[in-house]
């Protein structure tokens, strides 16, 4: 599946718009909800839409076509590469982020659909140098090998603990089942989630 074209940074994006599509861009850049525009968002195919996302407590603006997924907006536009792309089909969980506190797969949603939502990525978990209890538990329990699935596992675990689905090993396995680990670190991941749940409840 070819991805929509990416632009390395805002500067490049602007340059492209300026040099090639000035007229189109000026009509296509739509005001977002936060700016108080009254009419609902609308864009034509190929239009670039200005989307304000709230990511890890900071307001971030991205100019994207409607077809850009939240995952690609985070990674390619905002440089937040902690969120991983595994399958891009909702099957592996590597792209898990929290939206308004709930875990979702960011490869299966569009950035334009998430205006005004509060998004938390793995970069937003630690408090300065103090790791989130789930992050610390993953390190204590050596709950990864290659790390490809880890940020998704951690984001999913944060939600799993918050949802209270950590009563037993079987319950943790069921409620963490949307996150696959090709290195098969499941034993240690389950231990880390159980430990983090105890830590958080304390």
């Amino acid at each position: 599946m070819p991805n929509p074209p990416h632009h390395a940074n805002t500067h490049t994006r602007r340059t492209v718009l300026k040099s090639t599509t000035v007229a189109a861009a000026s009509t296509a850049l739509l005001p977002d909800a936060a700016s108080g525009a009254a009419s609902p968002a609308a864009a034509n195919p190929g239009d670039v839409v200005r989307v304000t996302l709230s990511v890890n407590g900071r307001s971030r603006v991205v100019d994207v076509e409607p077809r850009v997924t939240l995952l690609d907006a985070l990674r390619e536009r905002l440089g937040l590469t902690g969120t991983k792309k595994g399958c891009d089909r909702g099957e592996c969980g590597a792209c898990t982020v929290l939206v308004d506190g709930e875990r979702i797969k960011s490869c299966l949603t569009l950035a334009v659909m998430r205006r005004g939502s509060e998004i938390t990525t793995v970069e937003g978990l630690a408090d300065g140098d103090r790791l989130h209890p789930v992050q610390a538990a993953f390190i204590r329990h050596d709950a990864f090998q290659c790390g490809g699935c880890t940020s998704g596992q951690i984001m999913s675990a944060v939600a799993c603990v918050r949802e209270g689905h950590t009563g037993s090993e079987a319950e943790i396995r069921e409620w963490m089942s949307g996150n696959l680990c090709r290195c098969a670190c499941y034993q240690n991941i389950v231990a880390a989630v159980a430990d983090a749940a105890r830590e958080v409840r304390r």
């Binding site: 599946m1 991805n3 929509p4 609902p40 968002a41 609308a42 864009a43 034509n44 195919p45 190929g46 239009d47 839409v49 076509e65 409607p66 077809r67 997924t69 891009d88 089909r89 909702g90 969980g93 898990t96 709930e102 875990r103 979702i104 797969k105 490869c107 299966l108 949603t109 569009l110 334009v112 659909m113 999913s156 939600a159 799993c160 949802e163 689905h165 396995r173 069921e174 409620w175 089942s177 949307g178 996150n179």
Partner: protein, 327 residues
Amino acid sequence: MKAFGYTQARDAADAVSLAHRTPGAGFIAGGTDLLNLMKDGVQRHDHLIDVNRLDLAAVTGTATGLHIGGLARMRQVAEHPAVRKGFPVLAQALLASASPQVRNMATIGGNLLQRTRCGYFRDTASACNKRAPGSGCPALAGWNRGHAVLGGSEHCIATHPSDLAVALTALDATVHVLGPGGPRRIPIGEFHLRPGDTPNVDTALRPAELITAVEVPNSRTATGSRYLKLRDRATFEFAVVSAAAALHLDGRTVRDVRLAFGGIATTPWRSPDAEAALRGRSLTVETISEAGRALVRDAVPRHDNGFKVELVQRALAELLNGMGGRR
């Protein structure tokens, strides 16, 4: 993914009217099936109408039953106290579906409209009568382990993958839709269509129609309902075979029963014959196996899926035994 336009609909009427007048438009709810299909070029909309802001997400227990908004999320429905108490098969089917992340995103309307997981359908390099009418069905003579033994035609044997739809079929639900011509109701048994000569048409939904709600009537069978899903791995997988039973038992006598099945048919499969083999009779090993035989009487097994004929009968027996058949 091909480029597409995007509009956020304000309300249901706005969404329907946008869909009606915008060429190549489709609704996007959770996006969990649609975006996969769009990425793979299986579905190619020119414009997506975002229905997520519509006020259609409430789940309410009413005097006569359950009202589920078309935009309610799978998780929300599974957790709802009225669902867990009065319609356990629904909560069980939802919790056995997909993953926690997908259930946070996916809606009830979108779930009913999810497309088949048939590998030929999802691979644009393959022929497929459902995706490209007239191109042929490679599953008939090809790899058909996941395919249907009931309800197929010479043009298509793809199964419908929804667990929710199987549960709703056992609960006699009604789908409420709003279209350019106004609202109408579709009984769940008439919602999903067998492939026949037009496998490209999955459902009775007409162009630009929006699912606004699903209504489920209260009943004694609903209260005593259960779901059993058999998968190739323990969890996070579609059904190989599934069974939903809604049962009203009086001692060992079956007062009333509704049986629906997934994984074996081209649509969520209600079996009146299997129900008739049980209704008014005692729930015993004999009547249960009679029901199982009635269920598969017209089965047409293919090269790789013949095992389902046996498996679904065992699933039914397992489910009913757990509901009082052996006591």
